[in-house]
């Protein structure tokens, strides 16, 4: 599916810079950002917070049968990463070299190209993770 640029633009701060938010009422940090805190409901008081990008692999897989838009980049490694600030996020793990990516592997975030809508469409950028 080819998307209009607004759908990418509105997520730039999250996808490029790993900006999440924090509920000042309970202290919980969210990524991606939420309007409503899952614990505080109407008492939610959110402020933006930039995450360090440092974390540990919590679960990992290598996807070999890809979704349509990723058919030229398979196989790719995907992990649930537990960030040092608390939230878990899903993301690609790249540049692991010959090292095995497994539960507990320390990673940090990097800025990378995700994929493109064909030859002339939009290019999607995103944070990814690489082993420390």
């Amino acid at each position: 599916m080819e998307r209009a640029s607004a759908s990418l633009w509105r997520r730039i701060n999250e996808r490029y810079n790993l900006v999440g938010n924090k509920c000042e009422n309970c202290g919980r940090i969210y990524f991606p950002k939420r309007i409503v805190c899952r614990q505080c409901g109407r008492k939610t008081k959110m402020t933006e917070t930039k995450l360090s990008g440092n974390g540990k692999v919590y679960a990992v897989t290598k996807i070999r049968v890809p979704a349509q838009a990723f058919k030229d980049s398979a196989p790719y490694t995907v992990a649930v990463v537990e960030l040092e600030e608390g939230p878990r996020v899903e993301g690609h793990v790249v540049d692991a070299g010959n090292g095995e990516v497994k539960i507990g592997t320390k990673v940090h975030s990097v800025f990378r190209k995700m994929h493109a809508d064909g030859e002339e469409g939009l290019i999607y950028y995103h944070f990814k993770f690489e082993p420390v």
């Binding site: 679960a59 990992v60 897989t61 070999r64 049968v65 899903e90 993301g91 539960i103």
Partner: protein, 387 residues
């Protein structure tokens, strides 16, 4: 609220139904259900139609009206229910509520999916919409990818093995051989599963439910008048449902589907039954690891104990508890919108004592468990024979 019974059920054969479009599939199953319930089209008062992604698979939305139209029910109110892979179970629950409330007497629930008209990559993308589009699918995290992450974590926490996961597929294929509606009629071995092509480590092709076409239809009526239509109405003793975060990463635990846990416990409480009272169950084995999770989260086994029990044969037909006698999603096939309705049809067949070679001896109480996405929706129904 009044008691509700299933008075009829109909299925198409699941699989690659190249000769049939979506409308022929639903009409085939619908006609069977109507004959089974011994009712006329004019008796139908409301239709709930379930499909996950007909818009993506065949470009057709506005499904419920099409289903009612093609099944021959003129001008009845028709509502589409979409809850990803739990669309069918969710539609059954809406029909149950409609009849239990007293608003309608006869409700038809029809589930259908026509998946083989698109390429595997396109189908994979469509199914990916069951997860979080912006944060999972947009990164190319497929549906098997999500369950592979769950499997990786389950193996880490409970020492679950690839052989144990494979034993789920072997069992469900063996059961499917005894089901004429099933997609696969071929026994497979542990070794074949382990050597099949990897989709997303550690899940291989034979750990995954297939891409399927098919439809399932059931008819509901108030229990008090059900005997008028059918000698063996099957009572819906409980209907329960819960939700959870859409994205896998947002869950407290990756190795428990909390929505299943909550819906299951609510269903047991409503039916005033315990997990040990269940004789036969259709659980949501979209991937082999999912059946292991289901057996734990429905309280049939403690956490980390189900994989070995399955491997030891405790969940074979006429084992300690008979699981996925139809062949499950793995062996019978998984036309997504039809699956939750088919699960009810299988339990009805078992409780009527009409399951032939795959009959569970003396089956009195059955359970169905239908999951949407990687666990953001779970629907549990408990059914029993009326003596």
């Amino acid at each position: 609220m009044r008691d509700v019974a299933v008075i009829g059920a109909g299925l198409t054969r699941f699989g690659e139904r190249w000769e049939h479009g979506l409308r022929e599939l639903i009409a085939e199953a619908g006609m069977q259900a109507i004959m089974d319930a011994n009712i006329e089209s004019k008796d139908i008062q409301i239709v709930y139609g379930s499909t996950m992604a007909s818009g993506r698979f065949v470009g057709q939305e506005h499904l419920a009206a099409l289903l009612a139209d093609q099944m021959g029910f003129k001008n009845v109110p028709a509502v589409r229910v979409e809850n990803a892979c739990a669309s069918g179970g969710s539609a059954v629950r809406q029909g149950y509520i409609a009849v239990a409330s007293g608003m309608y007497d006869i409700a038809v629930i029809g589930g259908v999916e026509k998946m083989t008209d698109v390429t595997t990559a396109e189908a994979t993308t469509a199914l990916g919409g069951a997860g979080d589009q912006e944060w999972e699918l947009a990164q190319g995290i497929t549906f098997p990818g999500l369950y592979a992450l769950i499997a990786n974590r389950h193996m880490h926490e409970y020492k679950t093995t690839e052989e144990q996961m494979a034993s789920v597929a072997v069992k469900n294929h063996r059961n499917a051989i005894k089901n004429k509606y099933a997609q696969f009629h071929k026994e497979i071995t542990i070794d074949e599963v382990l050597k099949s092509k990897i989709v997303s480590d550690p899940l291989k092709v034979l750990d995954c439910s297939p891409i399927s076409d098919g439809a399932a239809v059931i008819v509901l009526a108030p229990l008090e008048s059900a005997k008028k239509y059918n000698d063996t109405p099957i009572k819906i003793a409980a209907s329960a449902q819960a939700s959870d975060t859409l994205a896998l990463a947002d869950r407290d635990s990756l190795t428990e589907l909390k929505a299943t846990r909550l819906a299951g416990r609510d269903a047991y409480a409503k039916a005033r039954l315990k997990p040990t009272d269940i004789n036969v169950a259709e659980v949501h084995d979209c991937f082999t690891i999912a059946e292991i999770l289901a057996m734990e989260d429905l309280d049939f086994y403690g956490k980390g104990k189900a994989a070995k029990a399955i491997e030891d044969g405790e969940t074979e037909i006429n084992g300690k508890i008979s699981i996925n006698t139809s062949g499950g999603l793995k062996g019978c096939g998984h036309p997504v919108g039809a699956t939750g309705v088919k699960q009810i049809a299988e339990i009805v067949t078992q409780l009527r004592g009409e399951a032939g070679e795959r009959q569970v001896a003396g089956a009195e109480v059955g359970l169905t468990h239908n999951v949407g996405g990687s666990g953001a929706t779970a629907v549990v129904h408990i059914l029993n024979r009326v003596n």
